[in-house]
Symmetry: C2
Subunit: 425 residues, 2 copies
């Protein structure tokens, strides 16, 4: 049996799925999805397990139904649309990303990978291809981690089903647990069949916007992702003492905001490197009681630390605790590590295939490392995985101004379509 | 007519209202009030214009009714209970404080001054005194300023009715305006007569907990308040750019949290003085979008700056803008001054009267400056005003652990009762 997904038409012309990828269809679907959680500034607020997230999932299921794809969902809230192959007993090829967004997110982060996979299946059908392996388009639950921390919960649970029970206890800022939010989504999807959590696919390919400036800077359209840089995330809690802003002498205060300021300033200075490789971010900070004339008695903040080299990441992350302890005084401080993901490399076989298809299609491409984490990090643990990047204008992402041109989105989907075509043949 | 509030009973014994002040009654009423907005840790969350605030006001009206006091409220949400004097045409003596609290406030801040004034009226009635001037017990709207900033709105509007219209537009963190919150309270008080805003009382006396450690340190029970230290409040808004924590290089970021950290750290260092006189507090800080893996694009924080010397306060407050501008880069920053109150001295006549009564009652007392702002600041503009402090254990206030002994509370009320007795005679 041929390993190629191309076919010869009656007139002898070679057909590849990429030829049937439709820019209009892909962009129309992206525009429809942008309506679920649309923000006034042109972005998207479609956080995990919200009503907007459910609406987007229902829309995806309707599009899948038009293509004869069978939906199913697992106990971690991951959604799958299956295009049955000629041999259903074979392990399927998975492709997708996530439909959830940051609170002030853009129109492309995550949703592009899901709709590019759907477009690839659509193109294969239009090409009259009937692959041997089933293809499953997937949307992973809570990739972003903004409502429920940490992110990538769905793919983590898929790769390690035992991790689910602890995730279900995580609560959002309003005290709603993942378990509670998930049951609302499951109620909205009650007509969709359930599937067991986890699996061993033949391969997983994720298309995504770059979220960085490299493709744009190098005039490339497709990034062949070599791997994902490591990331450690932490939660710092400072306990001070609430007292009156006008009367308590400074020497007697335990000011939790001043302690947080000292810790963040010291870490930002220490973790600054000349080569601008380390990524250190405090993005979330909560103050109690948060009143102008009360010295704060509690501050909780997040730390997101990344480095492409795992050894360096370990070393830098281990500096955080002593920096917290020295600078918190006279407040007390506790540090909790929420996640620790080492840097990883995707297998050469997948990267070579993506590179070779991009070359065949004459799409300008480069190899690059993903600075952001993705669901592919966890799929990498259970099957050969890889990623295809398309450019982000000015490298801006997690922002309502996030933008990728229709042409670039389409070229990424064309590469994906041929990769999935080959893998499923 | 005698200027003394004491009377001779049939047996020739001198009676003063202080003799009729009841520790049990005062503390029972304080305990009842602590129930409105009670927190699990034994404090109070009774923020301005909330349902809990309304409940406390209705309770005060019921107690006033038992003493034949006529309630009324003005368009700024101030509540008055009037004990009619023998000559109702004379300007009344006002006494009170506020019923609202900080989000994690104590049981005494504000409410003590209102209930001590009620106790003074109760004691005068028990003593059979019939003063010439009416006495009005008052609860001022939104002294704390935690829900709606700045504080002392009710007393500010009473002293300057033109200031009300701007206050009504102020919104809380949920977007509810003072106007909207006030109309809910007014609806709950619809059976209470309205009175016009403002007035020119004969005098205003406010009892309050010290909110500092000086009385305790000097073994004094009553503080004769010489004046109030000046205070300037500001709102700092930093605009950065939201971007991805894993991908955006540090050199390209506009991180609003890091800008805030640099500004606060620089100001805290500059404003630290060896004598520990300056009070600089950042108590409120809000981050957007406040997600762990997104560089913050907006931070808003409060500055509360106090100094007993007005000239020094002006000088230090004027340093804030350049410190913000230098440290915000590459973010942009704007500074808004919300209030600027110079230091003030209460008139000698009122202070002498309080001191002399405390001496007569053999209650240990000292003169001291109020480090905290109070409604008396604004009443000082329209009539001779003064304040009586009682000790705060360990100087702790704006905290659920705030504590003053029943004996000290009662001694303060005894001094207040005789002061009001003399002023109303």
């Amino acid at each position: 049996m041929s390993r190629s997904s191309s076919i010869h038409s009656g007139d002898g012309v070679l057909r590849r799925p990429s030829q049937y990828v439709s820019m209009d269809r892909l962009n129309d679907r992206l525009a429809v999805m942008s309506g679920y959680g649309a923000t006034p500034k042109g972005g998207v607020n479609r956080q995990a397990l919200t009503a907007e997230d459910l609406q987007a999932q229902l829309q995806l299921i309707r599009w899948g139904a038009e293509l004869g794809m069978q939906p199913s969902s697992d106990s971690a809230g991951n959604l799958f649309l299956r295009c049955e192959g000629s041999d259903p007993s074979l392990a399927p090829v998975l492709s997708g990303s996530h439909l959830d967004s940051q609170p002030t997110g853009g129109k492309f982060d995550g949703v592009y990978g899901v709709l590019a996979a759907l477009e690839a299946v659509n193109a294969m059908q239009d090409a009259g291809l009937n692959p041997r392996r089933s293809i499953e388009v997937v949307s992973w639950m809570n990739e972003e981690g903004s409502r429920f921390a940490p992110g990538m919960m769905g793919s983590t649970a898929y790769a390690d089903p035992n991790s689910l029970s602890e995730m279900l206890l995580v609560k959002d800022a309003k005290g709603v647990s993942v378990r509670e939010a998930l049951s609302l989504i499951q109620d909205g999807l009650r007509e969709i069949p359930c599937r067991s959590l986890g699996g061993h696919p033949h391969a997983y390919i994720e298309a995504h916007i770059e979220q960085g400036p490299l493709l744009e800077q190098q005039n490339a359209v497709v990034g062949v992702v070599s791997g994902i840089q490591g990331k450690r995330t932490f939660r710092v809690e400072i306990i001070g003492e609430a007292t009156h802003a006008g009367t308590s002498p400074r020497s007697k205060r335990k000011d939790a905001i001043l302690a947080a300021v000292r810790i963040i300033d010291a870490l930002a200075n220490r973790l600054h490197d000349g080569g601008d490789i380390v990524k250190f971010t405090v993005g979330r900070l909560i103050v109690e009681p948060n009143a102008p004339s009360v010295v704060a008695n509690r501050v909780v903040f997040s730390i997101d630390l990344r480095h492409p080299k795992s050894a360096e990441l370990t070393l830098l992350g281990d500096l955080i605790l002593p920096f917290c302890e020295i600078n918190a005084r006279p407040c007390s401080v506790s540090l909790t590590e929420l996640s620790n993901a080492t840097s990883l490399e995707f297998p050469d076989a997948i990267r070579d295939r993506i590179r070779s298809i991009a070359s065949t299609l004459k799409i300008a491409h480069i190899d690059l490392l993903s600075a952001a984490g993705h669901d592919a990090r966890y799929l990498h643990k259970v099957c050969p995985s890889g990623m295809i990047f398309v450019p982000s204008r000015d490298g801006i992402t997690h922002n309502e101004a996030e933008y990728t041109s229709a042409e670039d989105l389409t070229d990424g989907a064309r590469v994906l379509a041929d990769v999935l075509g080959e893998l499923s043949t």
